[in-house]
Amino acid sequence: MSFKSTLRAATALSLITASSAFADGHSATITIATVNNGDMIRMQGYTDQFTAESGIAVEWVTLEENVLRQRVTTDITTNGGQFDIMTIGMYETPIWGANEWLVPLDDLSAEYDAGDILPAMAGGLSHEGTLFAAPFYGESSMIMYRTDLMEAAGLEMPTAPSWAFIANAAREMTDRDADINGICLRGKAGWGEGGAFITAMSNSFGARWFDEEWNAQFDTREWSDTLNFFKNMMDDSGPAGYATNGFNENLSLFNQGKCGMWIDATVAASFVTGDDSTVADSVGFALAPDNGMGKRSNWLWAWALAIPAGTQQVDEAKTFIEWATGKGYIDLVAANEGWANVPPGARTSLYENPNYQAVPFAQMTLDSILSADPTDSTVDPSPYVGIQFAAIPEFAGIASEVSQEFSAAYAGQQTIDEALAKAQAITNEAMEAAGYR
C-alpha cells in the first residue's frame, strides 16, 4: 500500500469528525425527494428555470415509488432532516400532518391562489382543515379502452358502464392469437398497486375493510364476490402473469396494443394518447364501473409536495412549491409541450381553461375526480377515510401483506377463500397489535 493512499485514508478519518460542519455549507440549495414518474421527471427538466428565477438551487433525489416511501418515512419519523421537500400522497399527508411532522401550507401567497386547488384534492391533503401538502397532480381512475376493438366486437361503451358490461366486453375483445387481452388490471402485490385497485373495486361490490368497530371484513360475501369476479374476468381475458402487473406493466401493454380495456389512474390518459403509444388514435374514456350499489370503483389520489418540519429552509421550500404547483408551471409546460402534457387534476382553473377543455380526456378526468368521495367511500358505513386505502398509520403495512395474499390467489397458488382467510387473520392480528381491538 502506498504512502499516498494511507494519507488519503487518514484524511478521510479526520474528516469524519469535521463532517457536521461540512454539511451545513450550502445555504440556498434545497433537496427534494421525489418519485420517478413521468411528470416529476419533466419537472426536473425545468428546474434550471426555477433556479434562474429564484436563485435557489435544487438537488433531486429521484427514487422508485417503493424505495421513496421507505426512504422518506424513515426520515420523517426520526426527524432526520435529509429533505427540504418530500413527494408524498394522499395517504401519508393527513397522518403526518396530524403528527405535526409537516409545515402547514396555510400562508401561501395570494398569487398562488390556494383556493383554486380542487376541493377534493385539498380535502385529502389536509388535516383538520389545514393544508399540509400542495398537489402536483391529482388523479382518479377511469376506463381507457380501444375504440377500434370495441367497435370490432360490436359493442358500444356507455359513459358509466357496469362491471357486468365490462366483463362481457373483455371476453368479446380478447383474441389470444393476436395477443390481445380484453382487459388489463393491476394484480401486483403492494398496497399502492394491486391493493389500491382491488380496494377501490370492492367498494362498488359493497365491501369494506373494517366495520365500525375496526373488525376486518374479509370473511364477508362482498369480498369473496369481488375477488371471484376479478379473478374470473382476468383468467378469461387478462394478460398472462397479471398477478405481477402494476401500473407500469399495464401501461406498457396498453401502449403496445395488447389490451382492449384498462382501468387505472386518470393520469395515464396523457401517456396512452402520447408519442410512446402505438394506439394513441383509438383510445376512448369512460367512468370506472359500478355494480348498481351506489358506489363506483374509482379512487382518488394526489402526488403532492410537502415540507418536513425538520428542515431549515422553509421559505426556500415554499418558494419551490409555489413555483411547481402554481398556475405558472402549468402554463410553462403547456407552452413547451402542449396542453395534454400539463400535470392534471390539481386545479379548478385548469378545467375552466378552454385550451385544456379541448384535450380529449380532460372532462372524463374531472368527472371521475368529482365522483370520488374519500369520506363516504363504502356502501355500508365504515370508520375510516379514504377510498383505495384507510387513512390510519397501520394500513400500509397491513395492506401490503393482504395484497400479497391476493396476488398469490390470482397466480393460482391458493384459493380465494384461503387468501381471504389469511387476509382476515393478518388484519385482525395487526389491528390488535396497534391497540384498535
Binding site: 417503493n66 403492494g190 405481477t244 400500509a396 401490503s400 401483506e401 400479497q404 396476488s407 387473520a425 393478518i426
Partner: protein
C-alpha cells in the same frame, strides 16, 4: 515461539479491529434489544413504554413467521447446493487445457461484479417478464405458453438469480483448490485403472472439502442477508418472504419498530444457530 512482549504487542494490534467490531455489534444490538421490549410506533407518537415480551410472542405467533423461516432456509440451501455442484463441475472444466482459458474465466466471473439491484432489475424485466421478457419471446418461438416466472415459480426464480450471482465466487475458490491438486496422484490412480468417476469421488472431492466449507461459510453469511433481490422482484409476494424481509415489513411498512426489533433479535439468533452449526464443521475442517 512468541515472547511475552510480542504477545502483548499482538493484543495491542488486534485491539482496533476488535474494539470497532465490538462497538458495531454492541451499539446497534443493545438498541435493537431495547426497542424490542418497548411499544415503539413512530406513526403513533413514538415510544410508548415497556411491553415485556409481547413483541417476541407476537412475532413468532404471527402466521407469517414460520413460512418466512422456511423460505429463508430453502433459498439458502438451494443456492448453496446449486452453486457448489455447478461450481465444482465448472472448476473441473476450467482446469482442463483449452484455448482462450483466460477469456472464458473472465466470462464466468463477470456476474460477481454486477450489483444485486441491477441484476434483480435486469432479470425481472428484461428476461423474466411474461410479456416482453426475452424468455417469453423464446418460449413463444417454440410455440410454448410463456411462463410467469416471478409469480408461478417465484422461489426458483429468485434462487436462480442469486445462484447466478454467486456461482462465480464458488467457481473461483474451487478452481484455486483444484489447481493445487497433485496431478501425479491422479495419474497414478488412472494407471491403476480407476474410472474417471471414482477418481473424482475418491481423490478430487475429498481434496475440495476445505474449499467447499469455505464457500458454504462465506456464502451463508451473505445469503442470509439477501434483500434487494426480493425487494425488486416480488416484494415478498408468492411465498418469497424471508425472515429479513419480514423484519423489513414490520419495521418499515408497518412502522412497528418494537415488533421489528424483536424480529431482528430472532434473526440474529437464527443466524447464530446456522453459524454455530457451520463453525463446527468449518472449525474441524480448518484444523486439518
Amino acid at each position: 515461539m512468541a515472547t511475552k512482549a510480542s504477545r502483548s504487542a499482538a493484543r495491542l494490534m488486534m485491539a482496533p479491529a476488535v474494539i470497532l467490531l465490538l462497538g458495531w455489534m454492541l451499539v446497534p444490538l443493545t438498541m435493537t434489544v431495547w426497542f424490542s421490549f418497548r411499544t415503539y410506533l413512530p406513526l403513533r407518537g413514538g415510544d410508548q413504554g415497556w411491553t415485556g415480551f409481547d413483541n417476541y410472542v407476537r412475532f413468532v405467533t404471527s402466521s407469517s413467521f414460520w413460512p418466512a423461516v422456511t423460505t429463508t432456509l430453502i433459498i439458502l440451501g438451494s443456492v448453496l447446493v446449486i452453486t457448489i455442484v455447478l461450481g465444482v463441475l465448472l472448476a473441473i472444466l476450467l482446469d482442463q487445457p483449452m484455448w482462450g482459458q483466460g477469456v472464458v474465466r473472465i466470462l464466468v466471473i463477470a456476474p460477481f461484479f454486477v450489483m444485486p439491484t441491477v441484476s434483480a432489475l435486469v432479470w425481472k424485466n428484461i428476461f423474466m417478464d411474461p410479456t416482453n421478457g426475452l424468455f417469453s419471446h423464446l418460449w413463444r418461438l417454440f410455440g410454448a405458453e410463456p411462463v410467469s416466472w416471478l409469480s408461478d415459480a417465484a422461489i426458483p426464480s429468485i434462487v436462480m438469480i442469486v445462484s447466478w450471482q454467486w456461482l462465480p465466487f464458488a467457481t473461483l475458490i474451487l478452481l484455486t483448490a483444484i489447481q493445487s491438486l497433485d496431478s501425479e496422484q491422479l495419474e497414478a490412480a488412472e494407471m491403476d485403472g480407476a474410472s474417471p468417476l471414482s477418481r473424482f469421488a475418491y481423490i478430487t472431492l475429498p481434496h475440495l472439502g476445505r474449499a467447499i466449507t469455505i464457500v458454504v461459510l462465506i456464502q451463508t453469511i451473505f445469503l442470509l442477508a439477501i434483500f434487494a433481490e426480493i425487494f425488486v422482484t416480488t416484494g415478498g409476494a408468492f411465498g418469497t418472504r424471508t425472515l429479513s424481509y419480514l423484519i423489513f415489513q414490520r419495521v418499515l411498512e408497518s412502522q412497528n419498530i418494537g415488533l421489528g426489533s424483536a424480529g431482528g433479535v430472532y434473526a440474529i439468533i437464527l443466524a447464530n444457530i446456522v453459524a454455530l452449526f457451520l463453525m463446527r464443521i468449518v472449525g474441524k475442517n480448518l484444523d486439518n
